[in-house]
Subunit: 980 residues, 2 copies
């Protein structure tokens, strides 16, 4: 049992598949059971004894882990696996590889020989299961056919062999049912109809109560059904059953469910599935038989042991169907102490081998334990943190591995407030948790009502069958969104995530009746407009009434952690990479139980490791002193993006309006003079909050008209005023257009008319591609100089007051080095002037956003005038793809995700192939031109786990993200450094 491998190829926190390895016969440990194919041919079938767990890409997770268990000497029924490569060839060409049939024959023959039984023939006919198994777990998404090999003839042999007529006919009708539905496409409802008719006729409360004769009759009825509805008769040739079942599993990769699931889980569409063919063992051969699932440790607490459920005298599908109640595994110790002990032994072996929580499926056939599957087990976000620390304590994994066992996505989920599960009623329904967070409000069924109620101050949940762009207003107004249709990539889901609004979608048990303003639950309950509901966008649960919300203890920890650290180290020394977290012992405190305390301790410990190992620094995007202070508490080591445009809003709007409307140079200079002290105060606040840490101030970016009223609204207002006045004199002319209606007589009218003229003058067809950023700085004299002066004066004043301000000035939207040179020259002069006036030395690095393809393409030249680059990946994504986030995310993204153009919105996770390539090129060229160039990123990707790992890989110095994402970015930066 070699234990050298430190990264299992398949863990639940690693959704990316292991690289596809070519099948390597040399790597197979056991002697080949089948004659090796010709030297040029690729093998498509591997015996369980030939593979190992690193081969999930080739053998699927199930096949690889069955092979691993076989290698470990655990009791796995013999079998073989058909590779994902065979599936891919089938999907590509529409036909199985030419050599596949021969290989299957050889492996089947070896299996028969080993079992001493033949497939569907002889006195003890061999039956096999045919199961799917992709490289990445897709539970329940693809097909399975059990009992393959049973025929009108072998069913009798099976009955004789098992000594159980009922068992044999039950197995047969199950095969025909599964085969008919899965392989031959017969509507499964038709089988269910006949089954329930048979139950009624036999007065059997459950299937288990059906006698052998009834089952035999059903097998006959099912065969007739298949003949009538399927494309052919149920095959009586065992090998034909096998071949068709394999093909059906291949086909199921492209099934609707599977494709949707892959899209949701960001699993590539071109992996294909492997197929395992395994000798059947039976848990339904009597009271000494049974089937169960087990976890090697408690998935909630991490406690070692075995945990799970057991069902006596049953097959696995019965557990899933829930027809009988399972018993806890502890019961098995009483029912079958030997098997229980053996299971404990095996799970211990697996734990030590996989060094992680595993789940297993097992069957006991007449007192003999068989392992049918194992995999690294799924767990909740909280459990992931706790288990990683426990494994660390147990010495099973090292610190870097512990980091790799948790994800930024899990941490993000832990930061949201959540419903108090204890106080929650039974959910009304469960849908897909599409945008996390807990929301409570009155149910409303149309967008206009949602907007009206929200404006009136009511919290509302917008409930729709599905949303369309027309619902945008209501979605913006709502606290939460609930739909009965659509998945994680539906319009509602995409838009809600973009807005950060909690959303449950695809709650299909609910019937939404917008016309009558109500929804009906599966149980017939009704929720009417105005009634309060609660939706949990994390778990997908929907509740009636108001469920109490409990704050996140992890969030509280981060808030506390920073305060402790902040108190201790205010100066430059605080900028060191040491973790900022206070020890959690102090106060897992109020409201958080022991579990919460352990969770917080685990988060604390893993954040500490992440901070120690990461190479990427983490800064925050913050525009106010409050945000900056919070970001610092969350562990930000500075501000990577302070957007000055936000400082132009609010009370200062009239001032900014005057700036824009200024008709003379003198007037404009006067306004800039008035703005200067206000801006200076803004920066002073930021420098105080981030004392000793860098603060990157981006000069004004958006176009000026963003500070003015909307053209259409204003045009209508002016036109209506004109019409009203004309109405006083006579009546509004029919042909009056927007342009003619501005002849207002009063002062307000004149002001509006003047404003409208300015808005028209500044109106741009595509403001995103207009006069903004550095262009504005070069076109409006004095604007950037005022901002630079405010930065320099604030810094000088802070320094004179004993602070350690570390400002950096960042120029937005640069396309060519010349723009940067021009602004830089002016800025340096301004800074020097302030330094002279204040009598101190001021060194303020000046850098640029890289947010236009041209800046990236000419980064080598741009670097000659820049002290740092900060990649603005939002704008870069917009220009590289040529679509604006505002305009398209709600519009065609759903279609694009549906059609597989995207796996995920490129605004959410960086588009490595396009935008990423440009970032990488520019980073390399920039560093080549200037070795000490500092490189950061300040788009929203800075807080996205996958993107953070990409930025680590291309060698950036820091990421900057919203304050709440800082912990996520710190963790992911650590994970990236740990090789995740």
């Amino acid at each position: 049992m070699p234990e050298t491998q430190t990264t299992p190829s398949l863990t639940p926190h690693d959704p990316s598949p292991a690289p596809a390895a070519a099948p390597s016969p040399a790597a197979a440990g056991a002697a080949l059971a089948a004659p090796p194919p010709g030297p040029a041919a690729v093998r498509h079938v591997f015996d369980f004894a030939e593979g190992h767990r690193e081969q999930a890409a080739l053998l699927g997770g199930k096949g690889a882990n069955l092979a691993e268990m076989t290698r470990l000497g655990l009791p796995v029924p013999p079998g073989f696996t058909i590779t994902t490569a065979a599936c891919r060839e089938y999907l590509r060409t529409g036909a199985e590889p030419a050599t596949l049939g021969g290989e299957v024959s050889a492996h089947l023959a070896a299996l028969e020989e080993r079992m001493g039984r033949r497939l569907g023939r002889g006195a003890a006919p061999l039956l096999v299961s045919v199961r799917s198994g992709a490289a990445v777990s897709m539970p329940g998404m693809m097909e399975t056919v059990l009992n393959v090999g049973l025929t009108d003839s072998s069913v009798h042999s099976l009955a004789a062999w098992a000594g159980d007529e009922r068992f044999a006919w039950d197995s047969y009708r199950r095969l025909i049912q599964m085969f008919g539905a899965t392989v031959l496409g017969v509507d499964s409802g038709l089988f269910e109809e006949r089954l329930s008719r048979a139950r009624r006729a036999a007065h059997a409360p459950t299937d288990a109560a059906l006698p052998a004769a009834a089952l035999r009759d059903l097998a006959g009825e099912f065969q007739e059904l298949v003949r009538a509805e399927g494309r052919r008769a149920f095959p009586q040739e065992p090998r034909e059953q096998l071949d068709l079942a394999v093909r059906a599993v291949f086909d199921s990769w492209q099934g609707e469910r599977a494709r949707l699931y892959r899209r949701q889980e960001r699993i590539p569409d071109d992996l294909g599935t492997a197929v395992t063919v395994c000798a059947m063992v039976f848990g339904n051969l009597g009271p000494d038989s049974g089937t169960g699932v087990a976890f090697t440790r408690d998935p909630a607490t991490g406690q070692r042991g075995i945990y799970g459920d057991y069902l006596q005298n049953a097959q696995g599908e019965d557990v899933v169907a829930g027809v009988r109640n399972t018993v806890p595994l502890s019961e098995l110790a009483r029912l079958d102490p030997a098997s229980h002990a053996e299971l404990r032994r095996i799970t211990a072996v697996l734990e030590n081998h996989y060094r992680d929580l595993c789940d297993v499926e097992f069957t006991i056939e007449r007192g003999r334990l068989w392992m049918l599957q194992t995999r690294v087990g799924k767990r909740t976000a909280a459990a992931a943190f706790r288990i990683a620390c426990q494994l660390l304590d147990e010495g099973l994994i090292d610190e870097r591995e512990a980091l790799r066992r948790v994800t930024g996505g899990q941490l993000a989920r832990l930061l949201f407030p959540r419903f108090d599960e204890e106080a929650a009623p039974a959910p009304l329904a469960r849908g897909i948790g599409a945008s996390p967070g807990a929301a409570v409000g009155a149910a409303v069924f149309d967008s206009a009502t949602a907007a009206q109620w929200a404006e009136a101050g009511r919290a509302v949940i917008l409930v729709r069958r599905e949303t369309s762009p027309d619902d945008l207003g209501g979605m913006l107004a709502a606290r939460g969104i609930l739909t009965s249709r659509g998945g994680k990539t539906s319009h509602a889901a995409v838009v809600a995530r973009g807005m950060g609004t909690p959303c449950v979608c695809g709650a299909e048990a609910l019937e939404v009746d917008a016309a009558n303003r109500r929804l009906t639950t599966a149980g017939g309950g009704v929720v009417r407009e105005g009634e309060v509901i609660s939706v949990d966008g994390g778990t997908g649960r929907v509740y009636r009434g108001e469920v109490p919300v409990v704050p996140s203890e992890v969030m509280e920890y981060f808030e506390r952690a920073g305060q402790a650290a902040g108190a201790g180290s205010a100066g430059r020394a605080a900028a060191s990479r040491a973790p900022q977290a206070a020890a959690p012992g102090a106060g897992a405190g109020a409201g958080a139980g022991a579990g919460a305390g352990e969770l917080v301790a685990a988060v604390h410990r893993l954040m500490g490791i992440a901070d120690r190992v990461r190479r990427l620094d983490v800064r925050a995007n913050a525009d106010t002193a409050q945000d900056a202070a919070r970001a610092r508490r969350f562990g930000a080591r500075g501000i990577g993006l302070a957007r000055t445009e936000h400082m132009f809003l609010g009370e200062r709007r009239p001032l900014v309006e005057r700036l824009i409307l200024a008709e003379t140079e003198a007037e404009r200079r006067e306004v800039l003079r008035e703005l200067l002290p206000l801006q200076r105060a803004d920066f002073t606040g930021l420098f105080e909050a981030m004392d000793g840490l860098p603060v990157t101030v981006r000069l004004l970016d958006p176009p000026l008209h963003e500070f003015l009223p909307d053209l259409t609204d204003l045009s209508v207002r002016v036109a209506l005023r004109g019409a009203r006045e004309a109405g006083h004199a006579g009546s509004a002319g029919e042909g009056a257009g927007a342009g003619d209606a501005g002849g207002a007589g009063d002062a307000a009218g004149r002001a509006d008319a003047r404003l409208l003229a300015a808005v028209r003058r500044l109106h741009e067809q595509n403001p995103m591609l207009g006069l903004r950023g550095v262009r504005l700085g070069l076109v409006v004299p004095g604007l950037f100089a005022m901002q630079v002066r405010a930065v320099a004066e604030a810094a000088a004043d802070r320094a004179l007051a004993g602070g350690t301000p570390l400002p950096e000035i960042m120029i937005p939207l640069v396309g060519t080095v010349r723009e940067l040179e021009l602004v830089r020259a002016e800025a340096e002069e301004t800074v020097a002037g302030v330094a002279r006036a204040r009598g101190l030395a001021l060194r303020i690095p000046i850098g640029t956003m890289i947010e236009l393809p041209r800046a990236a393409l000419t980064a080598g030249r741009v670097a000659t005038a820049a002290d740092f680059f900060s990649f603005g990946t939002n704008d870069l994504t917009q220009t590289v793809w040529g679509f604006s986030r505002d305009d398209v995310e709600a519009g065609f993204f759903a279609t694009y995700l549906e059609k597989g153009v995207f796996q995920v919105s490129p605004f959410e996770t960086i588009d490595v192939e396009g935008v990423g390539a440009l970032v990488e090129t520019a980073a390399r060229a920039g560093r080549a031109a200037r070795g000490d160039l500092k490189l950061g990123v300040c788009g929203e990707h800075g807080g996205d786990p996958d993107s953070v790992r990409f930025f680590h890989r291309v060698g950036l110095d820091y990421v900057s993200c919203s304050p709440f994402r800082v912990p996520v970015a710190r963790l992911e930066a650590g994970r990236a450094a740990a090789g995740a």
Copy 2:
């Protein structure tokens, strides 16, 4: 005299400087007059005997050509040149290179030794001229100082040496005047004031009539003036005069005039100027002296000979000042037959050596001829074509060289109609010809009036001091634009060129008085609003009244040429590369004189050569059969871009509106069914006009709302209707906004309200970055399929009717290969369906625009699903730079050109460093992935001369441009292949 060189480094048609060569002492032909500097040092000074004409980048055009003439043994006064590299170092560091002073001393000593005279000392003091000379001719833009070396002392020696007191004092006062103004920055008006006072005192009608005593007094007065106004006294040390004069020439590179000129002529700002220091020879030493300029052949006709002007007993500046009338050079044959013969001999040497028209400046000093300058002479566009053919006939150049001697820009000028110069009155004024073409109309002085009058059907010329974005409406309405301020990069010029509207700007002699709606000429004439004026945007001339316009005979030739060719070859055979031009003999005809006939013959001949040598094919952008036919007449070998959106406008608008407003799938399908035959007819027309040539149909590109009314206009209309109706009931509410005012009761109101809802739904903040192109095709079911079907059916019907349609289908706005795969799959299925239905084989290549950075960055993958790429350089420029042409060209481009961020709008000439780099990368990756990938370009750059050469260089297969630019593109493609 080596004659191996075939490309002179400096010709008027090659504005790009020769590559800067490091000074290579080994290349110097003559023995060094000065001791060589240390091995590590770079030489900054070269004797005239050391250089040659290929060294313009280092020695400036003047220095290189003086060296060349010296090498040819022509009589050039001795001297030396200080390099452009020295200037660049001075400009960069603010100080001359450390070794420059020593080198100048050495060269000066050698010069003194050779002349046997010392600078400003001794009985025969040596005087020198200090002149600028950049690599590219910038006539009159930089400074010159003559007579350097004269001092209070040496002026007496000069008088004695020349035997002419008056000459000596005149030379001295000229030096002080030039030195004071140029070197010491004294206002030159102050010298002129004193000069005219002296003339009045002496009753001298001209300077030439001033006696020696008056000039001596003036020299004294001038020195006092310099002391008072300059930064120092006039230096009495000859070497100090020289050093300061050199520095002043260096400085003049950065002078306002020089910078403006460079911007207009697209000369890089970082070349720097060389300085030539040359022994003075004097044309003002009596009647046996004089100065003149000559052309080696007639610049209008190309006739060999000498043509020029001569001024007896004068210095060069007198010719420029125009104080006395020059005589034709033929007079010199009478005045000084020996010198005239010598000049003929020398110009013949130069002609044969330069193999081009040269112009020269010469001086005769007491019967001895000296050559002071030569260069390849400027000429008009028409002369360029004629001279190139004459040189070809004379065997001086070969065909490829002849091609290099004309430019696409010259050809473009010849295609515009022009004013009949013979019928034109004396111009009112002359400004800068900023946007070519002839326009006649009523003068109007504000934008609103221009728009109103134009709407009423009047032709107007918008006259403004300068224009701003507020004038856009008037500029759009006007036939021509005239401003009294600003240059080729002013707002008016940039916008007018963008619109293709003739424009004269910077006509400074005109005073524009918008308030009183009139302009005043220099002569005091007045033009009032409504009076007709004529502006020539080519020559910059402005005329009163209506000047008759004559069509361009070259344009008429192309129209004729195509008809002749079109008649002869309608089939596929016509697609060969053979020139399309008919022999011009037939009809230089009506209205074109002998000169015009010769011009047309020259154009015909050179176009033939271009068509023979070019590797790039030329197609046209055409959306209608008429445009396609015209393009074909102009020599287009197919359509590279047929925009289908233009086919959605006009009468079909109601249909398209129905498509957009369709509420059901059935409704939409019905509209698409109605559109199908219309589109099919469109394509049939294109295929007929381009029979046998490829026609690339681009599927619908713009966002749907472009086919609907403007949001603001419609909102105002709906609001006003609402207010009016409310007014009938009561009165419009104060707070009524755009959203509330749509409750119209009548049918029109309901229709408007419905339309408004659709417009709002489709409204995008940045339509350029929204739902358009392939996105639309994937989101609106059936739209692209309808278009593809129309293409396929039209092609099938044409083929069945015996035509040879060669359609290509082009997908716009692709960002990732997946989009292309999806559309391609549907399109192939549609085409196959049509082929089956019509019973014939249809092969329609399917390709993509490369107009998004992402498509270019992933071109290798995109190519796997494309039969061709067509670079959409308009959109690519927009996204690479992140600005939209509509929004910014009028807005900040003027500022950017002014500040040197651009040399030229990147929408006019391709931005080689950014956009071009992406085109090159994508072309290479595309071809690597698919060797037979066809590569074209269909942005407007396809008709821009510089861009065409770039596309040739990166190996594209064709360019596609507007029909009128086709001849220009053909010529430039030929020139590129000929090495231009």
